[in-house]
């Protein structure tokens, strides 16, 4: 369960540009997907979620796309701002005995260049 040997992927984006963070999930039975943002010294913070019966969902400046065929999830951030700098996690939530068991990906560090 430890991510030994793995490095946190980093995405550097110019302020004002759009950001796209990608995620591949592993469990074809997953029916719920969430994006979280984690700032330094804080816990993960919910951004947006999507259920498996949808392929796109929009929030304020963020859009999540779900491609179940290739088990791919992406988070698009429009007009990226310095405050968007953080580590972003995708998470999948198949039911486990009727209760959700949310499993996190390895995370992507977003660096916004002023």
């Amino acid at each position: 369960g430890e991510s030994v040997g793995l490095h946190l992927p980093t995405l550097s984006v110019q302020e004002g540009d759009n950001s796209i963070i990608n995620c591949a999930y592993s469990n074809s039975a997953s029916d719920y997907f969430i994006w979280y943002k984690q700032e330094s010294g804080k816990g993960p913070q919910f951004i947006i979620d999507i259920r498996s019966n949808m392929d796109k969902r929009q929030g304020q400046r963020v859009t999540v796309l779900l491609n179940k065929t290739v088990k791919h999830l992406s988070l698009q951030i429009a007009a990226t701002q310095p405050g968007d700098s953080a580590v972003y996690f995708c998470a999948e939530g198949p039911n486990s005995g009727g209760y959700q068991k949310v499993t996190f990906g390895i995370g992507t560090k977003l660096q916004v260049i002023p």
Partner: protein, 116 residues
């Protein structure tokens, strides 16, 4: 403020000691979790409780023992601490909506445990 709060924020201790981390949520949720985040930022679920009942118990050494006195509290006790236990431990909560409807987890700000 409505939140998931955990104490202490920092915990430095020596190998072999026993320590506890406390978590409380006032969001009215019925499900609570413990996650461990390693130095590479990898988040792994350890335990989950629903209405004081243990529902998820991942492969965690039995030195780790969660306790849920009520649905708003989930504590984590760790016996005989080892160097490899050093990590950030996050408490989270969510609402189960009758076991078939997923909802987002709300996280606390973590407890950074350093074992020397």
């Amino acid at each position: 403020d409505t939140a998931v709060s955990q104490t202490p924020k920092y915990l430095v201790t020596q190998m072999g000691n026993d320590k506890s981390i406390k978590c409380e949520q006032n969001l009215g949720h019925d499900t609570m979790y413990w996650y461990k985040q390693d130095s590479k930022k990898f988040l792994k679920i350890m335990f989950s409780y629903n209405n004081k009942e243990l529902i998820i118990n991942e492969t965690v050494p039995n030195r780790f023992s969660p306790k849920s006195p009520d649905k708003a509290h989930l504590n984590l006790h760790i016996n005989s601490l080892e160097l490899g236990d050093s990590a950030v431990y996050f408490c989270a909560s969510s609402q189960s909506y009758g076991r078939s409807y997923n909802s987002p987890l709300h996280f606390g700000n973590g407890t950074r445990l350093t074992v020397t």
